[in-house]
């Protein structure tokens, strides 16, 4: 079978599934539509495995380095001979890796949802939206063109909006959907401006042409771009930072992270797919896609990204320690982990021995997708069993949910970076590349990984231990095979994904690299992780007063972390109080009084003029005759004056 064709099919199948389900969804049984969605997604997952195999082991290599392979491309909008918007499908290491992750997690979520969403009213539409999301996310990662990526980027935003607001009868879900949409849209404004600046400077929208033009030494495009500076950064840096702003919006980097915790209003499998494993890493992917430009031509922008990433990682991890809604804990954990990927990219450079950060970031993206999706699906199983998101309703569930318990534990170990689970390898790679390039960021990362272990095990102990085992000892999992299978499969990923020699497949320049791994170096992070786990055990393993006392002793810090450092309130203050009163109201006044006033004046002027002249059209014969005679007299007078 042809690889190109399979790659195209990977994209087309979810689209067909979406169209079919949304058009004919009313006519088929919900169970059938779930089955259709899942089968299609399993098929795409198999296809992408096939394509990945083909790319990595068959045709992807040229002279020992992986190169891009355009599976399919056509010119869609030709603006002039240089600038065009193409639609296409590119295979290179990161897009193939993303294809694999997306289709795999999506397939798991599809299967899982068959049970989790069972009996929902709009079950078919749910599957249609999932398929739409999968299609747009796949389209995003295989984009050949900045603008194509932007289109799919927005499509992803739309499907995320639809899925967050899936329970649209719940006001909080609507608010969350709106918030997610508006915040990401606001960020996308920066992305769009960045795209326009980049395409203006490089005179192209094609990724690979753009990268080549903006990285080659002595390139006239690059010279034109970097010659002007603003506030100490070159135009190119600004353009790339604006592009990054779009990525920060999607990837929930500080200060645009506020939508992600609220997005947990959506169904839990959706959170697993969109808000943990795939969509939120789109920002990381975007930076990775343009990494060459960042690293070579705008290292200052890259270091800004690194600091934003490091700060967000720490910030989100601290908040995660205080949240009581388990999905919110996971959401902040996601923000923190994505920030790990971001700063891993940020500390990387271009060239031999510099670019481990890139590989580490992609590696972490890969492993994170498995264990975070697993955590969310596990949390979904817990919520399904206890019908609550709050930690205080849980505890001692290890007998009631044995499979969930085990898989959740594996995922927690993975995210905490305990060897030999997946997270250990990717996090070690990130930390060691940070260690080599930026010590501050390394220490922030180190502490954050400790906090990560703490809050993950706080979550784990609060759910599965803490109280006595559930009295009934009833097993909630007996009939939920479609929820358990994805959990088991994903836990295999969480355990073994780290063993993949990632460096030989994915690197910034396509050449295989060896990820640094030193036993001595790993001792510190692992020790910190283990200590944090033990601390969590001491605090939350049994029901005790200790956590409450501890939080009371650092009340100020605890309270501010619990309230997410009041970021939401600051946003509300800025938007509602300042923007609304200072800009919105005057603008509304201007619109209503001046703009509308002018329109109304025109209208009423027209009306009054027509009112006053409509009397002429009175239907009175004599009036007409008078005008007629008057006109004739005037004409006669004119002629007399002229000729006499």
């Amino acid at each position: 079978m042809n690889y190109d064709l399979s790659a195209v099919l990977i994209l087309i199948l979810p689209l067909i599934s979406f169209i079919g389900l949304s058009l004919f969804g009313k006519r088929i049984k919900p169970e059938l539509s779930g089955l259709i969605g899942s089968v299609v997604l399993v098929a795409t997952a198999v296809l992408s495995l096939f394509v990945a195999y083909g790319y990595f082991f068959d045709f992807g290599k040229l002279d020992g380095a992986y190169v891009k392979h355009i599976a399919f491309q056509f010119s869609w909008l030709q603006f002039n001979e240089n600038l065009s918007i193409d639609l296409g499908l590119v295979l290179d290491p990161i897009s193939v890796m993303m294809l694999l992750v997306i289709t795999f997690v999506s397939a798991m979520v599809h299967i899982y949802s068959m049970n989790y969403m069972h009996g929902e009213e709009r079950f078919t539409m749910y599957y249609a939206y999932l398929s739409l999301f999968t299609f747009s996310m796949l389209g995003l990662v295989v984009s050949v063109n900045l603008f194509q990526m932007y289109m799919f980027w927005e499509l992803v935003g739309v499907s995320s909006f639809l899925l967050i607001g899936f329970y649209f009868t719940k006001p909080s879900a609507i608010a969350a959907a709106k918030k997610a949409f508006i915040v990401t849209r606001f960020a996308d404004l920066g992305f769009l401006i960045g795209i326009l600046m980049l395409s203006f400077g490089a005179k192209t929208l094609d990724f690979f042409v753009l990268i080549e033009r903006l990285t080659a030494t002595g390139s006239p495009y690059l010279a034109g771009f970097t010659s002007t500076t603003f506030m100490g950064l070159s135009t190119l840096s600004w353009a790339l930072l604006l592009v990054f702003a779009g990525g920060a919006g999607k990837s929930a980097m500080f200060p645009l992270h506020i939508w992600l915790p609220d997005a947990m209003e959506g169904p839990t499998p959706v959170s697993a797919l969109i808000h943990a494993a795939t969509m939120v890493v789109a920002g990381v992917f975007l930076v990775a896609r343009l990494f060459h430009v960042f690293a070579v031509s705008a290292p200052d922008a890259l270091s800004i990204i690194a600091y934003i990433g490091a700060f967000t990682a720490m910030f989100a991890a601290v908040i995660a320690c205080t949240q009581t809604d388990i999905k919110r804990v996971l959401a902040y954990s996601t923000i923190s982990q994505i920030a790990f990927m971001m700063f891993a990219l940020g500390v990387a450079g271009w060239g031999e021995g510099q670019n481990e950060g890139f590989t580490a970031s992609m590696f972490h993206l890969f492993t994170h997708a498995f264990f975070k999706a697993l955590l969310f699906l596990g949390a979904g199983a817990v919520i399904h069993a206890v019908h609550s998101n709050e930690m205080k309703d849980m505890g001692g569930l290890r007998k009631a949910l044995p499979i969930t318990h085990v898989t959740f534990l594996l995922a927690c170990l993975a995210i905490a970076g305990i060897p030999p689970f997946a997270g250990f390898f990717s996090k070690e790679a990130i930390l060691s590349s940070a260690f080599e390039h930026n010590k501050i960021i390394f220490y922030v990362g180190l502490i954050t990984s400790g906090i990560t272990a703490f809050y993950m095990f706080r979550l784990y102990f609060r759910i599965f231990w803490n109280k006595a085992p559930h009295a009934d000892g009833h097993n909630h999992e007996g009939h939920t095979w479609s929820m358990n299978i994805p959990l088991i499969i994903l836990s295999l990923g969480a355990v073994f994904a780290g063993l993949i020699p990632f460096g030989s497949f994915i690197s910034a320049d396509g050449k295989a690299i060896e990820l640094p791994f030193h036993l001595m170096f790993s001792i510190a992070p692992v020790l910190i992780g283990v200590t944090a786990i033990l601390l969590a055990w001491a605090l939350y393993g049994k029901k005790s007063e200790l956590p409450a006392k501890l939080s009371a002793s650092i009340a100020f810090l605890y309270q501010s972390a619990y309230h997410k450092f009041y970021i939401d309130e600051i946003y509300l203050f800025v938007t509602k109080k300042i923007l609304f009163n200072l800009i919105g109201r005057p603008a509304a006044w201007f619109d209503r009084t001046i703009v509308n006033g002018m329109i109304n004046a025109t209208a009423s002027g027209t009306v009054s003029v027509s009112e006053s002249i409509k009397g002429m059209q009175s239907g009175r014969l004599q009036t007409y005759a008078m005008f007629f005679l008057g006109g004739i007299l005037m004409l006669a007078a004119l002629l007399v004056i002229k000729f006499m």
Partner: protein
């Protein structure tokens, strides 16, 4: 001042008087009768100007036809002795001003324009001459307008019957 001139001025005064009465009277039947006298006066002016044929036509068509028709229609649409509704004052004033301006303007032009008669020898405006030229089809012959006017008359005849016909309701 010759007799003709005296007769003309008397006729003119009568024409204008009856015209004024036609326009100003509030009784419609009287208006028709005053119109009749005015038209007869005009016929007299024609006779004074040696246009016997036109004068005869004026008497036959206007006096004998049109005014009779008007009187018939008055009988059809009015009960006798009815006074006409007065017009709005503003309308009367406006009409008066407009007509006065127009009249003064025209009179001013007439009195300031010199009408020069041609010097060619005059011909007699006899019925014979009129008939010959009216039915002549050589140059300056009027047979074509004559025919057109006869068709127009026929059309008006048919048209007025059609318009005034009662439409039977089904």
């Amino acid at each position: 001042m010759s007799v003709e001139a005296i007769i003309f001025y008397i006729l003119a005064a009568l024409i204008i008087t009856f015209g004024v009465l036609t326009v100003f009277t509030r009784k419609i039947f009287r208006a028709a009768v005053f119109l009749l006298f005015s038209l007869i006066g005009i016929a007299g002016v024609y006779i004074l100007m040696d246009m016997q044929f036109v004068a005869a036509l004026q008497i036959v068509v206007y006096v004998g036809g049109i005014v009779v028709l008007i009187i018939f229609s008055i009988f059809l649409t009015h009960s006798s002795g009815e006074r006409l509704a007065p017009q709005k004052l503003s309308r009367i004033i406006r009409a008066g001003i407009l007509s006065a301006i127009g009249m003064l303007f025209s009179v001013w032009i007439i009195t300031h324009h010199l009408f020069l008669p041609v010097t060619a020898p005059p011909i007699e405006h006899s019925v014979q001459n009129i008939g010959l030229q009216l039915l002549s089809y050589t140059s300056y012959g009027y047979v074509f307008p004559f025919e057109v006017v006869s068709v127009l008359l026929l059309a008006a005849l048919v048209g007025s019957i059609v318009i005034a016909m009662k439409i039977k309701k089904q």
